[in-house]
Every structure is written in C-alpha cells, then in structure tokens.
Symmetry: C2
DNA sequence: CTTCTAAAGTCAACATAGTTGACATGAAGG
DNA sequence: CCTTCATGTCAACTATGTTGACTTTAGAAG
C-alpha cells in the first residue's frame, strides 16, 4: 500500500509536436491523471488504491452483484480480484451474503462506511469534471462526451 | 513482459448512474482504454509496453534529452526508469552519447528502429483520436481539447 | 593534483497489480 | 449420488513502481 503519495504535480511537458494530433494524445494522458490525482491521494490516505475504488464504484451501482459479474465488469481475473476484495471485506466496507433463494453465488453490497468512502473518492473525480464542464458550458460538455464515446467504442 | 494480451473487449458496463457526472467518469476510464488498447497490443507484440512507449515518445520529441530531464518529464524515479531504458538501449531503439562539450550528462536519441516503433505505436493512438474528431467535427474537437485542458490543469 | 559535487548507474528490499495453472469447497440440479 | 458451476485459495511468475544506500564518472574549484 503506498503512503500519502503527494500530488506529483508533473507539469504538462512542453514537447515538440511532431504530428497535429500529438497534443490530443498528451491531453488524454494528463486528463486521466488530472481526474484521478486527488481521488488517488484520498484513497491512499485510507490505505486503499484505484482497484479498491473500482470495486466500490461498481458495487455501489450494482448492489447485490455476484463475484462473477464483478469480474466481468472489472475485466480482471478472479485471482486478481481476490486480494483487494478481501481487504474491503475485512475492513467491513463491503458485505458478502448468500441470498435465500439463490445460494449459489455471493451477493456483494456496500456497508455505510463503504458507501462513504466510495462517495468521497468519486466526489473528488466528479469535482474535477464539474469544474471543467462549467468552463466549457453545456455544449462543450456534450461535445466532450460525444468525442469520448467515439474513442471508447473506437468505431 | 506480457505476451500478446488480446484486446479484452470489456464492454462498457451498464451501471446505474447515481450522479449526473458518473457517465463522464466512466467515459474517461473507457476513453483512456480505447485510445491505448491497440497501441498496447502492438507494443506487446514487440515485447514492449506502455513505459517503453512513454520513453520513446518523449525522446522523439526532445532529441538529445538528458536522463535527468527525462525522469522529470516522466515523473518516475531513476531506478524505475532504469530497466525499461536499458532494454531500449540493448535493443538499439535508443542511443546514449556524451556530447563533445557537455560530457557530464548522456544524451538520448532514437535510432531508426526506435523511430519506427514510436511512430507505429503513436499512430495507433492518433488513429483513434482522428476518427473521433472526424465524427465530432472541428468545433467538437476544439471543445474536447478545451475540456481536457481544464481537467489536466484542474483549475 | 586533489577534492568536492552533480549526473548517472547499480543493488537490495519491498509493495502493488496483474497473470496462469492447479486444485479445493460448497450448493444446485438431474 | 454425481456432476456442474460459482467461488475460494495456493503457488509461481511478470511488470511496474517505490526508498535507501551505495559506486562510478567526470567536470569544477581549490
């Protein structure tokens, strides 16, 4: 577990642009960092990190999700899920119960403490997005989302 | 070194949206993945990965950069830089020379082979961006960049 | 020439995040 | 009862990063 991991400002490097799209590659990189920096810092102070947040984020939005479905969404192996998930259970940020009817799979749910941490971490990220969208206005925000969808689906 | 590492399609999860900005958090995540997926796949086939690409990318845009400056830009420790950098030197994708005047620091430069790989990997990323920008049009592209700048600088 | 300093390189120990492969357990269903 | 499927666990491995403690190299200052 990393300790506090202070900001690491890392000024956006002034690199010569060899291609017209180089600026956008760098913006994607620094944008991802910019969005996650404060959240990661907060998580580190809780003794957690990005994979823990990813688990909490998904479970918050899919209460009673089974382990198999979680693995699918996260895109990692069950062995890779194992350690962060167990930590969250030990720390009582998550509960795992067996449903009365469907005893075969365990159902994951956030505890109140888990909800609090998920909310605070995601709030840091949403705050960054909100500020950027406020600057850009509704049409800019919509354009950003349209471009990101095209990139994500890459089609 | 990971082997071919096939795509990992990972359909954008349909998660309930607890907050209005949740969609944008997920778009940032899947956008980053979408942009880097093909490039990472190409790099893996070359026995390389993202840190190697980052080094090649920076050196391509700052020929004759010194190690210390490279560490600054990449934001990692010199020990972390050491292994990927040595691999690139061994594979003759980079050269390190001492300048006639300034013998104190080594100057890094891409070889022809290094340039080829940097170009191909970055091309995969630029291709994704180009397609998205074509869909969005010039004004959409400009709006995307403005939002990303605000996120990256987080101010 | 000697000494100090800065850049670079190296070594060890560690943490985290992921992988495969192999195998154990526990509940549902035929 | 026996199979199957979801889950859990163990081991070994790779990769990427960290800190700390050096050494080496070469320019600069005395």
């Amino acid at each position: 577990m990393p300790k506090t991991s202070q900001a690491a400002g890392l000024h956006r490097a002034s690199l010569a642009k060899l291609h017209d799209l180089d600026a956008s590659l760098e913006l994607m990189y620094y944008g991802w960092r910019g969005m996650t920096l404060e959240a990661d810092d907060y998580l580190a102070r809780q003794g957690l990190s990005r994979p823990h947040h990813r688990i909490l984020y998904v479970v918050a939005r899919r209460p009673d999700i089974a382990i198999g479905a979680l693995i699918e969404i996260l895109g990692i192996s069950k062995q890779a899920l194992n350690r962060p998930l167990n930590l969250l259970l030990e720390r009582k940020l998550l509960t795992s119960t067996r449903a009365p009817e469907q005893h075969r799979s365990k159902l994951l749910r956030l505890t109140a403490a888990g909800q609090r941490i998920e909310q605070k971490a995601s709030d840091h990220e949403r705050k960054v997005m909100r500020r950027a969208f406020e600057r850009a206005g509704p049409s800019g925000a919509a354009a950003w989302m349209a471009v990101m969808e095209a990139i994500a689906d890459n089609n």
